[in-house]
């Protein structure tokens, strides 16, 4: 059995289920899949943006925001994603 004739338990071919790459390069079709996945996540980005706007707006009215401090937080938390 070759890759292209393999199928999932319910009989759906791997390629039709999105699990197998199109013939040719492994990376073919990847940009389209990334765009599709990011679009599906849009509500989360909206929640993050809404919280950031409301939260930073509130903080600026209660003592102000130190840009250097906020950058420190951002860098510290970004580092946790990759370290």
């Amino acid at each position: 059995m070759t890759m292209h004739s393999a199928s999932l338990a319910d009989g759906t071919p791997y390629r039709a289920a999105g699990y197998a790459p199109p013939a040719g390069s492994l990376l073919a079709g990847l940009p389209r899949q990334v765009v599709r996945a990011v679009r599906a996540d849009l509500p989360v980005y909206l929640m993050i943006a809404a919280y950031a706007l409301a939260g930073l707006g509130w903080a600026s009215r209660h003592g102000g925001i130190d840009p250097a401090l906020f950058s420190t937080y951002l860098l510290a938390y970004l580092a946790t994603r990759w370290c």
Partner: protein, 286 residues
């Protein structure tokens, strides 16, 4: 986390898949999965913006509220419920055990962070979590907002280890502070972290995880939330996650970070929020 997953995937294929490794690798790195992985990594990076905002708000809350007025109320409440300050009940059986203290510190300080990030990473990047992703992130963000901002402002307290500093009564939890100092020369000790947070608070400095507020416990709230979602994926995994959330609750009191009521309130809020969001998402989909 992405590097760790990549390494684990390769080891899994090489060690546990004796035949057709090429097919397995092509399946694992198919555009569908890689697309989700890259989008998930982007989402995790965006969460840093949310987390940076959360820490900014958390730090500003103390100024807005005017200090930590609720510590005495929570300490008296739990002492009335248990007949004694509960940390004494927990330290009683293991009095003087540096090993137990060390285990609790490493679990609470490090393993908890790894568990939180691993769950976020799994939900953000795994196709298995496709049906849960939006609801999990909505629950996660709402839990942090409600527990860490709204309710924290309503019951602003610093926690047992800071009780002396915020109330002037240094005697009440002095023994707890002295017990915790046994490991202060070791990395990631609770005593060192508590000193770091207090110095950052007093000096108005920012950094990783800064901002002090005990009520309600986000450590307990987040692990309860994870347990509820894991139970939807795998019943046994969910039960283990609930046990872990319980352990975190006990550790939070053992290490002097929280009063018992901090964890109890968090569990109640998360348990109430979970079915509400589930219903709301189901209705939105219908």
């Amino acid at each position: 986390m992405p590097m760790l997953t990549l390494a684990a995937t390769l080891v899994r294929v090489v060690v546990f898949v004796p035949k057709r490794r090429g097919l397995m690798l092509r399946m694992m790195f198919a555009p569908h999965r890689l697309g989700r992985l890259l989008a998930g990594c982007l989402l995790m990076a965006a969460m840093a913006v949310w987390q940076g905002t959360f820490t900014t708000v958390k730090s500003a809350l103390v100024t807005a509220v005017g200090g930590f007025p609720a510590d005495r109320f929570f300490a008296d409440l739990e002492a009335a419920l248990f007949g004694v300050d509960p940390w004494r009940l927990l330290h009683g059986p293991s009095a003087g055990s540096e090993g137990m203290l060390r285990l609790a510190e490493l679990n609470y300080g490090i393993l908890w962070s790894v568990a939180m990030m691993a769950m976020l990473y799994f939900v953000a990047t795994s196709p298995r979590a496709d049906g849960l992703r939006l609801r999990y992130f909505a629950s996660f963000i709402l839990t942090w907002f409600l527990l860490g901002n709204v309710f924290a402002a309503a019951g602003m307290s610093a926690g047992p280890v800071y009780f002396g500093a915020v109330t002037g009564d240094t005697a009440r939890f002095a023994e707890l502070v002295a017990t915790l100092s046994a490991t202060s020369d070791l990395p990631f000790s609770a005593a060192n972290l508590q000193a770091y947070l207090w110095q950052a608070h007093v000096g108005g400095q920012g950094g990783f995880g800064t901002g002090i507020s005990a009520f309600p416990s986000l450590h307990v709230g987040v692990m309860t939330l994870n347990a509820l979602f894991l139970r939807e994926l795998d019943r046994r995994l969910g039960l283990a996650a609930f046990a872990y959330a319980g352990l975190i609750w006990v550790s939070s009191v053992y290490l002097g970070w929280h009063y018992v009521v901090d964890g109890a309130f968090s569990v109640a809020v998360v348990l109430a929020l979970h079915p509400l969001l589930r219903r709301a998402f189901r209705a939105a989909r219908a």
